[in-house]
């Protein structure tokens, strides 16, 4: 297989954009990524557009063709991808596979979501699914995991809250993040309870947003050698996508899918957690980040709460996690999140992250997870990159 590199990234600040259309947000991120890559629209061989909610909220379909047209890209294959929270990272894995196989030299992923609308309601795994009919709203599945983790490993409310405090502190340094005002442990614990033990500040907020990534094969990167674009190319060592096992019973203190996805990515890259300098993970809720630490092998099983409390996953610590502010402070537009995580890791590995820069970052990992079925996750993606 061909070595794949990320040669361009772009995104718009996440937040409330009531005046913006989904397509205009997506096009702005796409244009920024093309400019960053110094790639012409005519050079893109395949386009992947990801979105989670527009079919339900706006009755819009096959949006990717509209988005790519806006940035001068037509005639090529365009794929529309929906995969809940991993929509954009799943699109990235597909784009990666086409470039790795040599089918196209340059592929592009654009992810976008517009969700600050009154019609949104509660996020769940599917209206006709039994779990939804029995009251499984998204935060409840994570709250049940938090309660088991607390019971089995002694994880505390303060440790859960520490994830939100850390990621908000990081977001204060990120102009693309939605919520940037610092918060304290007391703020997090005293916030309104959503689902015990998760308060409002422990649940990722909605956001309107878009992000884009340009991938290229070795021929393209070599042809630009000496140019600025090639010098800023980020190598992809693993782009793993796996789905759930849905076996019964499930252990609620981890996701088997999460562990399997991380293990496969490390095996593919020939690396381990000790090689990582920076991580973006799917902190949909505070407990999620703690469980992902354990799946990623950043600490032993059961130690995730103590790891965040130690400060080792803060900027300046041993292995900074979510220097962008994560889903918890950047906001979580499902169709765009996976691409925004890649934007952050690429920016970090290029040494262009400004005041939130992880010093000397050479290897980074972007981790995303989505959906819920039979107490398991429906999808997990793990991408390992280096400069």
């Amino acid at each position: 297989m061909n070595q794949v590199s990320i040669v361009g990234v772009g995104m718009i600040p996440f937040g409330r954009h009531p005046e913006r259309s989904l397509v205009s947000m997506a096009a702005e991120a796409a244009r920024a990524a093309l400019r960053d890559a110094k790639v012409e629209p005519s050079e893109v061989g395949a386009g992947f557009f990801s979105n989670g909610l527009a079919a339900r909220l706006f009755s819009d379909h096959t949006i990717g063709q509209n988005v790519f047209w806006e940035v001068g890209i037509n005639r090529i294959p365009v794929y529309n991808i929906e995969n809940a929270c991993t929509s954009a990272s799943t699109a990235f894995c597909l784009a990666w596979s086409q470039v790795a196989a040599g089918q196209v030299d340059v592929a592009m992923v654009v992810g976008a979501e517009k969700m600050y609308v009154p019609e949104l309601g509660l996020i769940h795994s599917g209206q006709s699914e039994l779990d939804t009919q029995l009251g499984l709203v998204a935060p409840a599945g994570f709250a049940l995991r938090a309660k088991r983790h607390m019971a089995e490993f002694g994880t505390t409310e303060a440790q859960l809250a520490a994830v939100a405090v850390k990621n908000r502190r990081h977001a204060g340094l990120n102009p693309y993040a939605q919520f940037r005002e610092p918060i304290t442990l007391e703020d997090v614990i005293a916030a309104p309870m959503i689902v015990d033990p998760l308060t409002r500040l422990q649940c990722c907020p909605n956001a309107d947003g878009a992000a884009a990534v340009v991938l290229a094969g070795p021929g393209f990167v070599a042809s630009r050698r000496g140019g600025e674009a090639a010098g800023r190319a980020i190598r992809v060592h693993a782009a793993v996508y796996c789905t759930g096992s849905y076996e019964n019973p499930q252990d609620l203190t981890n996701w088997e899918t999460d562990e399997r996805g991380c293990r496969l990515a490390y095996e593919t890259a020939g690396m381990g957690p000790e090689n990582l300098d920076v991580v973006e993970c799917h902190d949909a809720f505070t407990i999620s980040e703690i469980l992902h630490y354990e799946a990623l092998g950043l600490c032993p099983v059961g130690e995730g709460g103590r790891l965040v409390e130690s400060g080792e996953t803060s900027l300046g610590g041993r292995i900074p996690v979510n220097p962008s502010g994560g889903l918890l402070s950047r906001g979580h537009p499902p169709g765009a999140t996976g691409a925004a995580q890649l934007f952050e890791i690429v920016t970090q590995l290029r040494g262009e992250a400004g005041s939130r820069q992880v010093e000397g970052a050479r290897v980074g990992l972007a981790h995303c997870m989505g959906g819920d079925k039979a107490a398991d996750s429906k999808s997990c993606t793990v991408v390992i990159m280096s400069r």
Partner: protein, 146 residues
């Protein structure tokens, strides 16, 4: 409680998930069983994942142990009470761990590991305001038969 009243004319929120009154007079949970592979499922799928033969309906009983629970305090979906409780129950028969509603009137008595038993009552609606029967677990009063 008023919202969990007996109401024989109210339809279930989904077919094939429970029976209101089994031979022992108690509500029972229904799942799937493949005899050839000795595999149980909840809910019942069309085909056994191992042999791809049709899965027959099976009785998963009425008793279990509360593996985890939580209380949902936000504005509830489907006409549920606010707050309402959900959890995972380890069924006494068959070894399955199932997601479930938990008695919203007995939240203060819930603890991980306690024995629970199934009830069926008018609980929430179909999303359009029509009442529906739903199964939920409540702290056991009749003792758990293993």
């Amino acid at each position: 409680m008023s919202q969990l009243t007996e109401a024989h004319h109210i339809p279930p929120m989904m077919e094939g998930v429970f029976v209101r009154e089994a031979q022992d007079g108690r509500p029972h949970l229904l799942g799937g069983y493949c005899a050839a592979c000795d595999r149980r499922y909840f809910p019942r799928p069309s085909y056994c994942r191992t042999c791809l033969e049709p899965v027959e309906e099976t009785d998963l009983g009425t008793d279990g142990f509360l593996h985890a629970f939580t209380v949902v305090r936000i504005r509830p979906p489907l006409g549920f009470p606010q707050p309402y409780a959900v959890g995972y129950v380890d069924l006494a028969v068959g070894g399955l761990r199932v997601f479930c509603l938990v008695d919203p009137d007995r939240i203060g008595e819930l603890k991980i590991g306690i024995p629970v038993e199934l009830r069926v009552a008018s609980f929430g609606d179909d999303g359009a305001g029509e009442r529906r029967l739903r199964p939920y677990f409540t702290p056991a009063t009749t003792g758990v038969a293993l």
